[in-house]
Symmetry: C2
Subunit: 390 residues, 2 copies
């Protein structure tokens, strides 16, 4: 019973038949019901509205929009953002820049520190073909950046990352930031370009007023640093920061020159929990299409999308457009959907749309984004940056 | 400021230089410090000990071992499990079977219901080249299975999934299970092969005694169903179930004929929290290698591995082999590591090993597994089933 593969299996193995392959997840012209599952799906009309809304907001407040590619890792999305007026893109990891570079994006900000020889060399190689900026918060790292930039014959723009309350990377004081800027300016291959002042934890402060107040405080810290820089003869051409949750306050605040928002084209359950009282309110365009693959009891059905199709660190996904259905538990490959009393039970094989709770890591689970308009597939876009975490 | 790509970028774009490519994450012979990060790493000595321990346990108790490929999605791992005596593998999704089939595995159990035309057709195509079994819990689904099996000229082995307490898929009563078996036997292209009785939520019951008791109860429900089947003339050749946390009790219990354990070659923080009081105790072989990419304060460093490199639904990863260091928060691409008073602070660029909290979904974030022995890279294994969730 505990033997290795038996002889029948070996016979089959030697059959010489061609191996089956996975059919396409969807094809242009398909209806939603024809899309295989689990599938990440975007509603293009809403997506395009969201793109326009943020771009118009940036134009109106005279800041650049540099959308974050980490959110979607999808060159087709980035190309549409740039076509609409975005200055370029952000990435969070060096390797993440590669698919965007291959797609023709030529202005890339790595909104993060880059440490270690393979990553530094890759960064410098990318800078041979694009304007590249990168963050620093460490003097030794500045010297390393200069060394690889010089070796590759490129120039890297450098933003000093300052901590405006996030408590993650970045230096805490204007003095430390100035010391970094001086080091940058003193070394070949580098150009001091400004500051990065991103405060991620503000993005999901729920209350509108609470978020506005916190944004002002973070921006005040960035402004204080920029003032110190001016007093010492350093002009901050770029002050980069802001996200989907704070762009409403960051853009008109006259501190930031550039917005790094990422999630606004798509949104998710977590962003949906924010109070959106102002002019800048985005709609959800991103869905996870799932199939009911078991109907074992009157009060629950099981869908084929679990932890490997949508992440849950910001809560569970929500069932879209069906009353009385609640996604109640995520297992690795299953979702348990509870039915309230009186809810219409979905049938075996029926498809349910879910709203992911956190769009960024959910994109990172999928290789393709099915782009739909009015219920019909318009294209299938490669999420080519998926897994590019180096 | 809000303009599209400027003229400088266009010049660079037209340079005609070859695009940079991502260097290999590691090469055979590399030391751990040379592996690029984030990287999923396995210690082969411990991994092989774990494989042997579970296989020996199955042999000793005369049950088949059919390890779950969903845990690792890596054909190189599955081939080693089969070489050691595993009967074949389990997969949870049809598409997940493809890389294992391509690697030569010819006995595949889909431990799940399969619903919808594209998936059913793929399942039947795979059955042309392998012995394939699948679970059912719905009469209409049985008819669909028969239709595609007949169309493809194959035979599918069918296990009736019974719910032994998980509250997910599966039928609740022996009567419903028998009705399904009769339907299976009545239709062409299908063969009734037995029962699946998996209870996932028992795997992580912490107390050894508590787990033993719960396993006995679940097994008793499976045994009761098998008895009803015998009384109606149906022999259950296979009763499949069990996992890493319950194999200790399931194997000697004389109910299960086949163990579906998945995590035992690797383990994780969550399984480490179980009380392992018996003979079957596995050691952690799986690590996430990260790099310290910022050292902003005396009490914290930032590593380059966050939510896109390790999932957190079962808690945060743990820092391995360093005292006073705690992985305290996971952002999308960052991990915040807190230093206790007096802890030796890791330097910028230093590498830290983390123990993932939940191995299955963490494998699903990576394309490669770096296989190491005594601190030296022996090979880089493709996680070819990564993202195969259809």
């Amino acid at each position: 019973m505990e033997s290795s593969l038996d002889s029948t299996q070996m016979d089959i193995a030697g059959s010489g038949l061609p191996l089956p392959t996975l059919p396409p997840i969807a094809q242009p012209g398909d209806a939603l019901a024809q899309v295989d599952t689990p599938a990440l799906v975007v509603d293009l009309d809403i997506f395009e509205d969201n793109l326009r809304l943020m771009q118009d907001w940036a134009v109106r407040h005279r800041v650049s929009l540099r959308p974050h590619g980490k959110a979607h890792k999808c060159p087709e999305v980035a190309l549409r953002q740039v076509a609409q007026g975005a200055r370029g893109i952000c990435v969070q990891k060096v390797s993440e820049a590669l698919p965007f570079l291959a797609a023709g994006i030529r202005d890339i900000h790595v909104s993060n520190e880059v440490v270690g020889e393979p990553k530094l060399t890759l960064l410098a190689c990318i800078a041979r073909q694009a304007r590249v900026s990168v963050c620093v918060d460490n003097l030794a790292n500045v010297a390393e950046l200069s060394r690889v930039a010089t070796a590759q014959g490129v120039r890297l723009d450098v933003l000093i990352e300052i901590d405006v309350g996030q408590g993650r990377c970045g230096v805490a004081s204007p003095t430390a930031a100035l010391e970094l800027a001086r080091r940058v300016e003193s070394l070949p291959g580098l150009r001091f370009a400004g500051l990065q002042a991103y405060q991620g934890s503000l993005q999901h402060l729920r209350g509108h007023t609470e978020r506005a107040t916190a944004c002002r405080e973070a921006a005040a810290r960035a402004a204080q640093c920029a003032r110190a820089f001016r007093e010492h003869g350093y002009a901050c051409a770029i002050i980069s920061g802001g996200g989907t949750g704070t762009a409403e306050f960051d853009a008109p605040g006259r501190v930031y020159t550039e917005l790094q928002a990422g999630s606004y084209p798509f949104m998710d359950v977590d962003y949906g929990e924010n109070e959106w009282a102002g002019e800048l309110s985005f709609r959800n365009s991103l869905f996870l299409l799932s199939t009911v693959m078991s109907t074992p009891a009157a009060d629950r059905v099981i869908v084929d999308a679990g932890l490997k199709s949508t992440t849950v660190e910001c809560g569970l996904p929500r069932v879209h457009g069906r009353t009385g259905l609640k996604y109640a538990a995520a297992n690795d490959e299953h979702g348990v959907v509870r039915l309230a009393a009186g809810a219409v039970a979905p049938a075996l094989g029926e498809k349910l749309l879910l709203v992911p709770s956190h769009c960024d890591p959910t994109f990172n689970l999928h290789d393709q984004l099915v782009a739909m308009r009015n219920g019909v597939v318009e294209g299938v876009w490669a999420i080519s940056g998926r897994g590019h975490s180096r």
